[in-house]
């Protein structure tokens, strides 16, 4: 029977299927971090259980870690306790940990692909909703809660209901200066934060195939912002080229065998999806959010919407509340919105390609005096690579701050936060109230828009700088 990519990967991991019950699914890779794991390890200890497959489990420190003075003990005692707890748990249960200061440390969704651990056709979970990132490789990857983290630690499986499938086809070609981030922000605005609820999204079409692995990760990363637990892209030559030679990628005959298998991981021509959505990449332009959920976005060239124009009463009230929180007035051009802070980083846009795009625009330019710009690489490897290319110097010369790796201002669990009332242009994934610091206001943008905004002091596109891209 014809199947979709998601169905094929799901089907090859079913340990047990029974009528009226969710499937029992084998998990190939379990990623762990300090925030959602301590209570799971406590649960194991209380029940006298072990970690079934420590070798299929990898831990890192990312959410809490400071991005300055990383050679010193963490000043925040509560954060330090959480980090210490992860270290003790990993030592006790025999799990590899890339701790702060380690050359492989970084955001969990940046280091998995970087180490070649994320491969097509695998099932990958993590106690973090942006696990959908790994779907860019044709893996089935999704976020889980702490109870499920404990379940995977104990059994290397997950009891879970098979999701529906949605095809998102993106035709055409992205115009210059428009990126994967603009594409996914536009899609979320189109289908809404609940549009993908209950689905695994498969992104396909020429505009998706044309993306680099970094761009594909950005798209899959934000699937959860459309309500979908997972996003996937069929693996192709771009995927194989990215993986070949990475530390945990297969070699020799095993590589050939793997590639032969990976080529079968695509939806059959006559596969039927439960839902289909189309988007024209050629019609896209730089996209920003104006509200307090990722579905409240608009082209940068637009104006702040008027809540009165929303048909649905729930959407109208939500828009009114969002504009009050964001302190924006309907009809105001989005380009006139001035920001205090620009953040480049996160599991959405903290990879080397993202830093190159931002640096290209900042070369020979200055960050506006009214703006604080923070550049936080997604991993220590990304940091080293950027420094080898001299990107750090470009950022520093422009007046930006160059930091060490972590989740940082994406969610403000470390000291990198917005002050109450401050406004940011951020390459991260969530513009929720208070997400980047209590009372902070967030506009989600691409790395290119972030860099242009840093220079002008208000939301801007590369074209506004007279730059081609």
């Amino acid at each position: 029977m014809a199947g979709t990519l998601a169905e094929k990967v799901w089907g090859s991991h079913v340990v047990r299927r029974a009528d009226g019950e969710p499937d029992l699914l084998f998990i190939d890779l379990h990623l762990v971090h300090e925030v959602t794991s301590p209570q799971a390890f406590d649960g194991l200890r209380a029940a006298g259980r072990q970690v079934r497959r420590p070798a299929l489990t990898l831990a890192t420190e990312d959410h809490n870690v400071p991005t300055l003075d990383i050679d010193k003990p963490i000043a925040d005692l509560v954060s330090r306790t959480q980090i210490d707890t992860l270290r003790r748990n990993c030592a006790e249960f025999g799990i590899r940990l890339h701790a702060m200061g380690d050359a492989e440390q970084g955001i969990v969704h940046v280091i998995g692909p970087q180490l070649g651990l994320t491969q097509p056709g695998m099932t990958i979970v993590c106690g973090d909703s942006h696990t959908s990132t790994h779907g860019a490789f044709g893996a089935l990857a999704f976020g889980i809660g702490t109870s499920e983290v404990e379940h995977v630690l104990a059994t290397q499986t997950l009891t879970t209901v098979r999701p529906k499938t949605m095809a998102v086809t993106i035709d055409g070609q992205l115009p210059d200066g428009v990126s994967a981030k603009d594409m996914i922000l536009a899609l979320i605005t189109q289908i809404g934060t609940g549009g993908g609820q209950g689905y695994v999204i498969e992104y396909r079409g020429p505009a998706i195939q044309a993306l680099s692995m970094e761009g594909r990760m950005t798209v899959c990363n934000m699937s959860i912002e459309a309500g979908a637990r997972a996003g996937m892209i069929a693996p192709d030559e771009t995927t194989f080229a990215f993986l070949q030679g990475r530390p945990n990628a297969p070699v020799g005959a095993a590589w050939d065998e793997a590639v032969d298998y990976w080529r079968t991981l695509r939806s059959d021509e006559d596969a039927i999806f439960d839902a289909e959505v189309h988007l024209d990449a050629g019609a896209l332009s730089p996209f920003v959010t104006w509200g307090t959920n990722p579905g409240q976005g608009a082209p940068l060239s637009a104006t702040v919407p008027d809540p009165k124009d929303f048909f649905d009463p729930g959407d109208r009230i939500s828009a009114e509340k969002a504009l009050a929180y964001m302190n924006l007035i309907p009809g105001m051009p989005l380009r006139d919105v001035a920001v205090d802070t620009v953040f480049v980083g996160s599991c959405t846009n903290g990879r080397i390609e993202d830093l190159r795009i931002a640096a290209d625009l900042l070369r020979g330019r200055k960050v506006a005096p009214s703006v604080r710009m923070l550049v936080v690489p997604g991993s220590m490897r990304v940091k080293v690579a950027a420094e080898e290319e001299g990107l750090d110097q470009i950022f520093l010369d422009a007046g930006a701050e160059w930091r060490s790796a972590g989740c940082s201002m994406c969610l403000g669990m470390n000291p990198d936060q917005l002050a109450p009332g401050e406004r940011s242009a951020s390459t991260s994934n969530r513009n929720f109230e208070g997400r980047q610091g209590k009372g902070g206001r967030t506009h989600l943008v691409s790395p290119a828009v972030a860099a242009a905004t840093a220079v002008t002091g208000h939301l801007a596109s590369p074209a506004d700088l007279g730059a081609r891209s």
Binding site: Q39, R52, L56, S129, A228, R229, R430, F432, G434
Partner: protein, 196 residues
């Protein structure tokens, strides 16, 4: 988890869409390594900044059934959102649509989440606002919500319902199939990554 059969309590009407888990409990509370005591973090920004927020009104401070608008529990996978709701005293959340991960977390932890059509949500809001002291009964044995002279049926996944009624531990259930897991492990290709 504790079994769930019938619960009677006061409804808190939360007329908001897109209540993301960052609003249910902000990240700053996630630094704790314990599994209980998160009630202080529940909706902490709204409780601190909005005098007319539903849980700041005396008639709803002891409520145990939360009724919200579309897309409740979207965003972050933090199970702390479920713990905070339960630590505060909530046993049931009713909304037209939930974030997938939140719903999973809730049902695995013993917080009953019910997807109800917006008309039913409106009825419950109206009931809670017009007679806040009159409790509502949620019956998982008969799949019914009862209040005033109204009785409405609700749908819930049969397997999730059985686990809630029995209060079953998922891990113990899965361990019954350890032999199958071991068999599956033997069939996995050797080339798959391993961190031995």
């Amino acid at each position: 988890m504790n079994p769930f059969s019938v619960h009677r309590g006061i409804v808190a009407p939360l007329r908001r869409t897109n209540v993301d888990t960052d609003q249910i409990i902000p990240a700053v509370y996630l630094k704790r390594v314990t599994r209980t005591g998160f009630e202080d973090g529940l909706f902490s920004a709204w409780r601190a900044n909005e005098a007319d927020f539903v849980l700041n009104k005396p008639e709803y401070t002891r409520s145990s059934i939360l009724v919200a608008d579309n897309d409740f529990g979207t965003g972050s996978s933090r199970e702390h959102a479920v713990w905070a709701l339960m630590d505060y005293g909530f046993r049931v959340v009713i909304a037209p649509r939930f974030g997938d991960i939140f719903r999973n977390n809730a049902l695995k932890t013993g917080l009953l989440v019910i997807e109800a059509p917006i008309d039913e949500v409106e009825n419950l809001w109206h009931h809670a606002e017009s007679c806040p002291d009159q409790s509502v009964e949620v019956d998982l044995l008969s799949n019914e919500i009862r209040y005033g002279d109204k009785v409405t049926a609700f749908d819930i996944d049969a397997y999730a319902r059985w686990r809630l009624l029995e209060g079953l531990d998922d891990i113990a259930l899965t361990e019954r199939h350890n032999e199958r897991i071991a068999e599956f492990e033997k069939s996995r290709p050797e080339r798959l990554p391993s961190l031995s």
